[in-house]
């Protein structure tokens, strides 16, 4: 079980409280597909992904980004049991979606950059520490049921 200090929990929830899940989720997923274009392989049926503009404006990317970040919210509500929270999703990503877990790390890093761009100086080094820890824990939980 992951140990979270009171400060880490506070930093995570206070940032989360100000996050527009739809906007941030869409942006994070779009950036994943733009910065690491090979990740588009998982979204071949999403329509037009031919350019950064197309990706950023793609309604399916936006909707899926929102879905992904909403699920992150579940982790934040259950910081003391992220493993269980992601158990089914882990099976899904392995058995149905066939996603290399390395991609979870990439998305996590991108989410941190998106938060930094939204919150500027308020996204302090301590915030970054807590959030990098969180995205790492989520990535690990998502990879846990792989076989």
């Amino acid at each position: 079980m992951v140990h979270w200090t009171a400060e880490e929990k506070q930093l995570i929830t206070s940032v989360w409280g100000k996050v527009n899940v739809e906007e941030c989720g869409a942006e994070a997923l779009a950036r994943l597909l733009i910065v690491y274009p090979w990740t588009q392989r998982f979204f071949s049926n999403f329509g037009n992904l031919s350019s950064p503009t197309a990706i950023a404006g793609n309604p399916r990317v936006r909707a899926h980004g929102k879905k992904v970040l909403t699920s992150f919210g579940e982790a934040i509500k259950n910081l003391d049991n992220i493993k269980a929270t992601y158990s089914k999703l882990s099976e899904l990503h392995c058995d149905k979606l066939h996603v290399d877990p390395e991609n979870f790390r990439l998305l996590g890093d991108i989410l941190v950059i998106v938060l930094a761009s939204h919150f500027g100086r308020d996204f302090t080094p301590a915030c970054q520490f807590a959030w990098q820890k969180l995205v790492g824990v989520v990535a690990h939980a998502l990879a846990r049921q792989y076989h």
């Binding site: 942006e27 779009a30 950036r31 733009i34 910065v35 950064p52 990706i55 950023a56 890093d109 941190v112 950059i113 998106v114 930094a116 761009s117 939204h118 919150f119 500027g120 100086r121 996204f123 080094p125 301590a126 970054q128 520490f129 990098q132």
Partner: protein
């Protein structure tokens, strides 16, 4: 490979931080030490407290080196040759690309925090490619 468009975007980002290199460098290092404590093992001789002069100076050096790389995007290998030797034979930061990736992540967080919306996905992609290219050059002579 860095395309012409990538190079333009990297230079555009660089112009934005040209005036505050020391600040950007210091902040990058501080974030790296706080977020990834294992990186402190390479600086046992440094005062790593917030606001430390050593972090500020070293951060300025690091960003200065990146600036040299930005001015020599067509020939990174040659431009960073000395630094490549230093990292391979002297500093031996291990594993070569992984730790430099941590620095790159923190550098991008600082850029994003400074530039906000202006740190567009396109600039993000170009800088990410650039930092990978720099890390690859620095790791060239490891073995």
């Amino acid at each position: 490979m860095l395309t012409c468009e990538d190079k333009k975007l990297i230079q555009a980002v660089w112009e934005k931080v040209a005036g505050c290199q020391e600040e950007v460098g210091g902040e990058t290092l501080e974030r790296m030490f706080v977020t990834y404590p294992q990186t402190k093992t390479y600086f046992p001789h440094f005062d790593l407290h917030h606001g430390s002069d050593q972090i500020r100076c070293h951060g300025k050096k690091v960003v200065g080196a990146l600036g040299t790389a930005v001015k020599n995007l067509d020939n990174l290998s040659q431009a960073l040759s000395e630094l490549s030797n230093l990292h391979a034979y002297n500093l031996r930061v291990d594993p070569p690309c992984f730790v430099l990736q941590l620095l790159a992540q923190c550098f991008q967080v600082v850029l994003a925090a400074h530039l906000g919306k202006d740190y567009t996905p396109e600039k993000h992609a170009a800088v990410d490619k650039f930092m990978s290219a720099v890390a690859a050059v620095l790791a060239e002579k490891y073995r």
